[in-house]
Each structure stands twice: as structure tokens, then as C-alpha cells.
Symmetry: none
Subunit: 274 residues, 2 copies
Amino acid sequence: MISSIAELISDRIGAMPAGERRAAQTLIANYPLTGLKTVAEFSAAAGVSSPTILRFVARLGFQNYPEFQSALQDELAAQLQSPASRTLNPGSAGGAVSPMLEATLDNMRETFRHLTDKQLADIAARLAERRGKTFLIGGRFTDPLARYMAAHLAIIQPDVYHLAGQESIWRDRLIDMGKRDVLVIFDIRRYQESLVRFAEKAHHRGVQIILFTDQWLSPIARFARHVIAGRTAVPSAWDSSAALFVVAETLIGAVTRQLEAAGAKRIRDLESLR
Amino acid sequence: MISSIAELISDRIGAMPAGERRAAQTLIANYPLTGLKTVAEFSAAAGVSSPTILRFVARLGFQNYPEFQSALQDELAAQLQSPASRTLNPGSAGGAVSPMLEATLDNMRETFRHLTDKQLADIAARLAERRGKTFLIGGRFTDPLARYMAAHLAIIQPDVYHLAGQESIWRDRLIDMGKRDVLVIFDIRRYQESLVRFAEKAHHRGVQIILFTDQWLSPIARFARHVIAGRTAVPSAWDSSAALFVVAETLIGAVTRQLEAAGAKRIRDLESLR
DNA sequence: GGAACGCTGTATCTTATGTTACGTATTTTG
DNA sequence: CAAAATACGTAACATAAGATACAGCGTTCC
């Protein structure tokens, strides 16, 4: 069975004319990058003419060059999204548990790889500056994450509200929301219409939205000031929210640190209470 | 110093108009693949128009779109050649994020290292066999985990209840609990007296208790049939529940798989509903 | 509340990319 | 060795890509 284009090439490279073989070797040499460039660049790199490149991809079974490039991109996408955790502790390997854990660890690394310090610091700063109120809400499976975050934030600062219950209930809370306020939304596939509607209305009221979503981006991203895209794919019937959970915890920690650094009175009061 | 385009983006994303910010977020969400596609595809993915994409890359300092793509390809080439550097975003290394993430990943590895497949399989089996009811409850910060687990389990099987609200409310639910029932409790430091009391009473009624706790073990461990001890230490003012969260997700997956394997009618009915 | 500014999308244009046709060179085969 | 078949490159073509001009709209700031 042939799964990757690289395999396909090495499978057929023997039956290729000289020019096309040069093309193949050039592509393999730094796979798959050469294939993502233009035909002209590819041909120049291989030292052959453009038509030879086209005949080469045709021989591989592709209808045209763009189709070939799409295939390469898909392959690359799959590769980038699951870096195939080689760095895993071998002690836990072997069982049925391991694939799940491995995927989760990969998801977290990937999620944070796309997340810079600055982004997180910006979001944390926005959450820490007490200009207005903070609202949190989530979807069917992610609402617990909103609760978790709210439970922590509500301790270190005032005016933190988790929006619970039925749609009509939190829709009425829109009245309280304005430009100075922040709305944290958790929404992963399958995206909930009620949340999108709510986000849109909040956005029109000038509320700044911080969105936790998956890599396919909830439609709410359209209205969001900040978007955190977490990886959710695991070998399970369900998607995993673990990466988003860790981002949430990281943010909670960052906000706490910022408030401490700012010498917030509330924090000192809290410590004296313990 | 800015070395990667991803960094460049997150550096300037704050100063971007809404449309371009959307483009930026879409690109970051699955970086760098979207940037390698055509302007039309990029714009479609981001839900904005082509000119917005072009203005976006112009703002990043590129003369034209091909130049932008070349830069992405160069970056990708460097990454593909040294996979080690790919593990973490160099931008976030050394920052405040990395220690938190590292600690969390370590916690998970450690947690699962002390957790055998058999333990998890036993617990999953206990949750999957539908002899009685399943109750879930958590403490101040861990109750969201109970909710999260309940939200999933309640779908694949009947008689799953999350115990919410005030102590008096769930204390009264004890009446419904018996030998055939399971109680899942989340309790980490500082352990809540109310939960301990509740666990003790449930235990005396013959309820089987599955406890999620930290490595120092909640006093409830005394009454529990199964104990899952997760690592919680992170460089933050708060403890991390992330490891427990992942165990919960793993269990949810395992229970689902067992029910599927058993050919549970409910699972088939569910699938026909979708 | 009005005016200026800036952002965004539609439509048009231009560029350059992929594609194809054809003639020459090279190899293969009888 | 000759003839056929195949491979390859040059050059012209059509298409689709990126770029630009402009008008409408929302936002902000007097």
C-alpha cells in the first residue's frame, strides 16, 4: 500500500526517463518543499524544462500541477498536525492508554507552538486590567472549562461572571455588557448556533471577545478580539478539550501573576485571609 | 528579536484592523499551511476578501504575496531539516509560558506512569456496566471536571447525574444511592470537608466511590474503591487539574469504546440520531 | 451631530503561471 | 546501420493568479 507521495515516487522512479528521474530526485532531496514551488522553479532546481516537470507529475497520476501541489500540502498538513510524539516516556508505552495520552501531549505541544508569549501576555493583560466586567460562557462540552476559569478569576478579581443556564437567561445579561467588558467564550465543533448569536450581539455592543476554539475556528472568530486555537484530535469518539484546558490554566496563572505584580490590594487582602 | 513569521504576526496582531486580524488568526490556527495556498483560498478560509489578505501580508512587510510565500517556505524548510527545533515554538521558549507547559506535560507523564492499563480498564468497566446509577461531584475548583465528565457520560448511558448546587441538595440525593451505584468524586487540596462527609455517608450506603485526587490523596481515599492520583504541581499560584482532566478524558473514551464493543443499543440509537 | 478618517469589499486589470503544440535530439530495436 | 519510437526543450497560448482603483460603510473624533 502506498500512503505518501514520496513512497509513490520511489516506487516508480525506476520506470522513469532520465529527465523525470532528475525531477524525482530533486523533489526527494528536499521533500516536499520543491514541489510546493512553481513549475519554473522546480524545473530550474532539477535542471530540466517545465514540460518535463509536468510530465513527471502526470506520470505520478495527477491530472495537473495544482492537484499535485494540493496532495503535497495535505500530506504536510497531516504531518505538521501530529508530530508523532517520539519523545514520550517509554515507561508508559504499550497499553491502550498510551495513544490517547500521546495524542493529548502532542495536541498541547502543537497548541502552544502556535501561541506566542506575547499573545498570552496580551490576553492576560486584558483580563487583568479592571476596566469593566468579565463574562465567561461555553458550549455543551466546554462550559465546564468556562466554569473552571471563572472559579479562579472570580477569586482574584471582582466582577467575574459565569453565564449559566438557558439561552434566554444569558441573553438578558447582554444589557449589562459594554465596550469596557470582556467576554470569554469556549466553542469547539460542533459549534453552537446559540453561542454564535450571543457572540454577535455582544460584539455589536462593543464587548471584547476572547475565544477558545479548535483549529478549525468557530464562526465566532469573526467577532473575536483574541482567538486561541487548540488541537482537539485524539483517538477517541470525542474531541479533546485538554489543550484548551491547559491554555486556560496558563492564563489563570498569568493573570494572577500580573495582578500580584501590580500589587493589587485584593490579592494582599486574600493572602491575609488565608 | 523576531525570527519567525508567526512571531512577527503575534507581535503586530494587536495593531491590525479586524479583517486583517482575522486573516492572522486563521493563519496562526494552522500555520503555516494556509499561507501556502492561493490568496483566494486564504481569503475564503478567513472569511474576508482577497485584498484584505494582500493588505495583511503588506502590513507584515512583504512586497507581494509570492515574497510572503517564499518566506514561509524558507521557514518550513528550516523546520523540516531540524525536527528538534520544532518541538517548541522558539518564541515561547525561555518565556513565562514554557515552564508552565513543561510542568503540565511532566505532570501528565508522571500521572500516567503510576496508572496501569488495568486500573483504567477496571474503572472504565465499572462505569460501563449499567447495574445502577452514576453520580459525579467535585470540589470548588474541580467541580467543572465532574461536569465535563458527566456531560459526556450522560450521552452514552442513562442514569448519569451531576450533583450540583449546595451541600444540602446533594446530601438529600443520598437516598437514591445504593450498592449498585457509582460515585465519582473530584477532590484536590485543600480538601473540602463537605465532600469528605458526603463520601463517608455514601460509602456507608455501599456506594462504590471512584476518587480523582492529587498525589497527597484526599481523606476520601479511605472510602474509595478506586483512586486516581494526579500530579498538580506547576509554577503558578494555583494547582493544576490538567492531569486529572486528561485521565477523565481517557476514561470517557474507554467507557465509550467498551459500550460500543458491547454493542449497546443506546450507542446505535445515538448514531442513528446524528 | 457632523465631518474626517480608515477599513473593507466589488470589479477591473495585469502579470505570470501552467499548459500544449511542435520540432529536434536521443535512444532503442529490428 | 537504419528506422522507429521515445524523450526533451523551445515557444506560443490560455487561464487563473495576484494586484489595483474605487466606492460604500462604519468608526472615531471634534
